[in-house]
Amino acid sequence: MKKLGLIVNPIAGMGGRVALKGTDGREVVARARRMGAVPESPRRAIEALERLVGLRGQVEVVTYPQEMGEEEARRCGFEPQVIGSIRPGETTAEDTRRAAREMLALGVDLVLFAGGDGTARDIYDAVGEEVTVLGIPAGVKIHSAVYARNPRLAGDLAALYLQGKATVREAEVMDIDEEAFREGRVTARLYGYLRIPYQRRYVQGLKAGSSPGEESALQAIALAIIDGMEDDFLYVVGPGTSTRPIMQMLGLEYTLLGVDVVHKKQLVGKDLAEGQLLELLEGRRAKLIITPIGGQGYLFGRGNQQLSPRVIREVGKENIIVIATREKINSLRGQPFLVDTGDAEVDRMLSGYVRVLTGYDDWIMYRVTG
């Protein structure tokens, strides 16, 4: 029998209704409660679980006590195995981490969790990529790509995965400084990757013989980049799983969450900060390889702050190579790429259209707005 781990962060989403932008930190939670906030996540977790009722009897639910999942599971008619202990009304991030670790130890097939970016970060800290997880969006901030678009779709995808009808992919966990966010500044960084289910489409391709998979497209993109490398350019490789195959194919060490620099197919800088990048770029010609981060299409300003306005100016717009698979583009649902470098002039410079490399010698034109 398949095992489903269920973790509800009961306070996620409380800040939103009272415009507090997140509930990281006890004080904020208390403030939110005082302002009359009610928990969002239980309702959303139930919405997702309702899509799984068809699997009752085929799936064993493992969860934490009371508001961390037990109540939600019972509401949907599951008889969950309840583990761990909490202090009701005073759950903490550590409870989430502990729950995830214990579920991993119990060998669950999937951890379904309700929360926001902070919750995803806690899950990541606890189990990394050791188990497949999926987020039910319930937090105020959902910048991480580990969440389904809504709770019901989370339930559907979880059901497919538990029935063996979905594969897995890596998705971004974003980390936004809530304090700064509340003050109107966004300082997002790419925190890491979690493994989430991915629905394979089994429909037949009317007349097409086959369709290249996403993995295949990433390989082709990497080859195209490498084949096009010129000796008198530095190649600044931005973070993300899309750029990773370039480094892997070159046989170089890489920083998944950071910025590396390649010259003549050799690594000349690893996980560089803005200052180090500027130093290296001084008087040199360079190309910058980036991919939109997360599910929201940010090219700059989310998860790659090292690539600052100064770095961008130094490289020049014409030397920015944007790469992405068609699947990633389509997941933006027509929304343009976003840039938020913190420098309005640079944002303006980047706005308009950009060529995006989507395969070997395969490009799309895509809109960018500031």
């Binding site: 013989g209 086959s210 369709s211 290249p212 390989q219 070997y360 010698d361």
Partner: protein, 459 residues
């Protein structure tokens, strides 16, 4: 008057639908097309033949100007061949269900999937390979795609082709390989037509993706050096690709037996009418290895279980085919090609069975040998030009008779005979030569009639 093919042109229905949409006339539905792009003239087309009877009279009147291979005695081959088409083949491919189906799923179109799976299964037995595609346009396309597959599999960009490949097919291959793939021709021995292995050795290198030859060849002879050619190709890390006429495979060894990695060829002889060349369909077959399967651009139908125990379902094998050759710009796209002929070829193979295919091949060999013998007895004719074994076609040389092929064919035409294909422009080194084709449709009397007519023509 409402047209019989357009039900909603009936005025009342049309008005009702316009009302439902909320527009006054159809013009409003074209509002997005700017006036400057609107065609306001009248297309200069003939007045329609509104009754079906008039249409039939008109078209049959035009077609009556044709003289067919039923009316004339035909010895033309060269890429499209006259064979007997069993009645059941026509019965099946004219079934409305097959004739008018298209791209349904393996549920409501289960029969289409199964028929094509069975076609692939039977072709697989004929060529002794485990993977066969849903058919492509013709042999020329099958060869072109096979060669491109070979370049992807090997990561190399040059293909070597026997110089005896038919010019028509070669032209298709050249265009399809342009600009990325270099096509190099390998010389042949004038006495046998067979590949010059020294030239092959000279040209084979670490750049070679594949060596391609045909068996039987375009010029009719059988290439017996398959094993050596394949071995030489393999030594250099290249693949051996062989084109084949499936009607020969009841008696001839399948190319897989002498080392072919990819086999391609033409399905038209398997129960499909010539249709002025419209009956062609190409097949590709390989071993069941992932590196081969991954490079097929074609659809491959496979068996899959359903939720009901013991029920056969079907579907596309390896749909997200991850090519091992990422540099290949895009994957070849397969669109609508010749699925109906694939189904038909399957019906043909099921009708003939193993004995029928052997008898077919043997009967063709005997008739063709008889024809060669009869023709070679005629003064001034040399038949066959090439020493060695042939299948259904062979080259006849008229040079010594002092006649051009064109002259001979004109004279034959006057006697109700389509003479062999004129090769004098395609293979000038052979002189005044023609390619004759003899199949199971020819009786002894037919062949004797040809021989007598030729004797008459060159006298």
């Amino acid at each position: 008057m409402a047209h019989p093919y357009i039900p909603n042109s009936a005025p009342r229905v049309k008005a009702e639908m316009l009302r439902e949409i909320g527009v006054r006339d159809v013009e409003e539905l074209y509002a997005d097309i700017p006036e400057s792009l609107r065609f306001r003239g009248k297309m200069n087309l003939p007045e329609p033949l509104s009754s079906e009877y008039e249409l039939r009279r008109h078209v049959e009147g035009i077609l009556a100007k044709n003289k067919t291979c039923q009316e004339y005695l035909n010895f033309l081959g060269g890429g499209c061949w006259q064979h007997y088409v069993p009645a059941v083949c026509d019965e099946i491919n004219r079934r409305a269900e097959f004739l008018t189906a298209y791209g349904g799923e393996p549920y409501e179109d289960h029969g289409r999937f199964q028929a094509l799976f069975e076609y692939a299964s039977m072709m697989g037995e004929l060529v002794d390979m485990d993977v066969v595609n849903v058919p492509t346009y013709d042999w020329a396309q099958a060869a072109s795609t096979s060669l491109r597959m070979a370049t992807r599999i090997t990561g190399r960009k040059q293909v070597l082709l026997a110089r005896t490949v038919g010019p028509d097919r070669l032209s298709v291959i050249r265009n399809y390989c342009r600009p990325d793939i270099e096509v190099v021709l390998i010389d042949y021995h004038l006495e046998t037509g067979q590949m010059n292995l020294d030239d092959l050795k000279d040209k084979l290198s670490a750049q070679t993706a594949a060596v391609y030859f045909e068996n039987p060849s375009y010029l009719g002879f059988i290439e017996p050096q398959g094993e050596e050619i394949a071995a030489l190709a393999h030594e250099e890390g290249a693949l051996c690709v062989v084109g084949v006429d499936p009607t020969s495979l009841g008696v001839l060894a399948p190319p897989s037996a002498y080392g072919a990695d990819i086999i391609c060829g033409e399905l038209q002889p398997l129960g499909i009418h010539m249709q002025y060349g419209g009956g062609l369909a190409g097949f590709i077959a390989t071993r069941d290895e992932e590196r081969f399967v991954a490079e097929y651009p074609s659809r491959l139908f496979g068996i899959a279980p359903t939720v009901v125990e013991g029920e056969y379902g079907f579907g596309d094998v390896f749909f997200e085919r991850t090519s091992f050759a990422q540099r290949e710009r895009g994957k070849e796209f397969v669109g609508t090609a010749t699925a109906l002929w694939g189904i038909t070829a399957g019906v043909y193979l099921a009708l003939l069975g193993p004995d029928g295919m052997r008898e077919l091949g043997q009967g063709i060999l005997q008739r063709s040998q008889y024809a060669r013998r009869r023709l070679s007895e005629i003064r001034g004719l040399r038949a066959p030009v090439f020493r060695g074994a042939h299948f259904k076609e062979f080259v006849v040389d008229f040079t010594a008779a002092g006649r051009t092929v064109a002259e001979v064919n004109r004279a034959l035409l006057d006697r109700g005979i389509f003479g062999g294909k004129d090769l004098s422009a395609e293979f000038p080194e052979l002189g005044e030569c023609a390619l004759y084709c003899v199949t199971e449709v020819h009786t002894k009397a037919d062949i004797d009639r040809l021989a007598e007519a030729l004797e008459d023509c060159v006298r």
